[in-house]
Symmetry: C2
Subunit: 305 residues, 2 copies
Amino acid sequence: MARILVVTPNPAVDTTYRVAEQRVGESHRVLEVAQRPGGKGINVSRGLAALGHESVNILPLGGATGDWIAAQLEELGLAASITRIAGATRTCVAVTDPVAHPTVFNEPGPTVAPREWEALLADVRLRLADAAMLVVSGSLPPGADASLITALVVAARDAGVLSLLDVSGESLLAAAAAGADVVKPNAEELLAATGTTGLDAAITAAQALGARLVVVSRGAHGLVARDGDTRYSTPAVPGIHGNPTGAGDAATAGLAAALVDGADVAEALRWAAALGAAAVLRPVAGEVDLAAFHRFLSTQTPTTE
Amino acid sequence: MARILVVTPNPAVDTTYRVAEQRVGESHRVLEVAQRPGGKGINVSRGLAALGHESVNILPLGGATGDWIAAQLEELGLAASITRIAGATRTCVAVTDPVAHPTVFNEPGPTVAPREWEALLADVRLRLADAAMLVVSGSLPPGADASLITALVVAARDAGVLSLLDVSGESLLAAAAAGADVVKPNAEELLAATGTTGLDAAITAAQALGARLVVVSRGAHGLVARDGDTRYSTPAVPGIHGNPTGAGDAATAGLAAALVDGADVAEALRWAAALGAAAVLRPVAGEVDLAAFHRFLSTQTPTTE
């Protein structure tokens, strides 16, 4: 089975600190530390693995934090093709206590040198020769510009491989303009990037730029999509409570897996909604409840307008 | 020149995040990340190096964070004798913004296995054969008990090497009871450990346990000490503003350097006060302003009662 390439441009060591009570300006004893390999693409890759799809994580990694992520991917059984970089991979810290909302500190990440990006792109081009799909997910590190996104989409198109991009801002516009097969922003990201006020106008704008299929995740309001002129929507699985972090990435994994398997857009949306909900049920981002996914699949009904 | 052994039982990667504004429950973009090898003993070792004293950092290190500290010590030109441990060395995060006080998150640190402590102790015993002094500085990681402190003090005494301990709580009581040559808590730590209300009574209690020289740092109120029945005090250098983090460790370094050089207690207190103030002038903990140190030395006058 051809593998899905998953590019994570700015991976992170996601660290969670549990404290008794968060207070600005105070010193806290951290009661518990949890760490996991983070970055949206890695979550996508874990969701794909849960669905039995092999993927290759393509990512720049550097420093001790990069080494740690490489070791963790191996432990999770996720294939990786690593571009070693001089800078150190970032850490993101979430502080939790029993009462307040989590406080999150996102490091910007290392500057990746142009020749390091070139090495990563060369690796992608090589692997596109027998890939099932190219997924690019997450933010760019500081100093990188959207031309990287353009180059990735063009490389996939040149190789005749489907591209799916879950990116935001300038990267989203670049992906659409380069003719990405699928873009999958959330509603807020799509509105912000296109500078429109209505979701319909925003999807039209993304398609006008060049994107074929636009899939928009709307959290508790489900997903909507437009493929050419055909509109689709699927409601969120009702009554799901838990940890929404990583749910959008699981939805991306569900979408990618279904499309690679030859599903139509309506079916792919169903998979996205079901795997997203299955991720909310797990306390740790990147994990999915597979039994729940299958249960949800059997109850989700997408709508074609 | 015989070297000073400096034990840091629970080193840390000290990380500082600069953000625009600290807010509990919000997501923050980290504008700048600074990292340095931390743990009180490492600061002491840097202070000693500034004064031209060679030291050997003795510390348990594990994981990628431990590797990073080892590399940084090498870069700083500080000798290290590392006991590799299975657990990962901790990180401590301080979040700063232009207005609020820094918010600090101190990870507890790894559990160090009994046989890992035994390896560290064996290393100390070996190196005590030609050491000028044994300094132990900072907290113990979770699961370690004060018997480690007792073993370190006893090892120094058996080798005929002066011991100086900057530790708190049970560790401070254990150090005194084991007959440490010098204990150097701050006033708060000494009062808390001895359960007394006055500083004089607290010093008496520490001496009654077995400590010979008790040196107490009192921040802006300078230092007091008692050696047998002789009391000493030295005021803080007046008019010093800056970063007090690490100033106590610089004072420990000044004290240790002076005592190793054969200075009397009054002179050693002068060095402690001057190097502590020289550290406040530097924005980064662990660094000292050496020119300021020499200036301060020429103006500080200790008092013997």
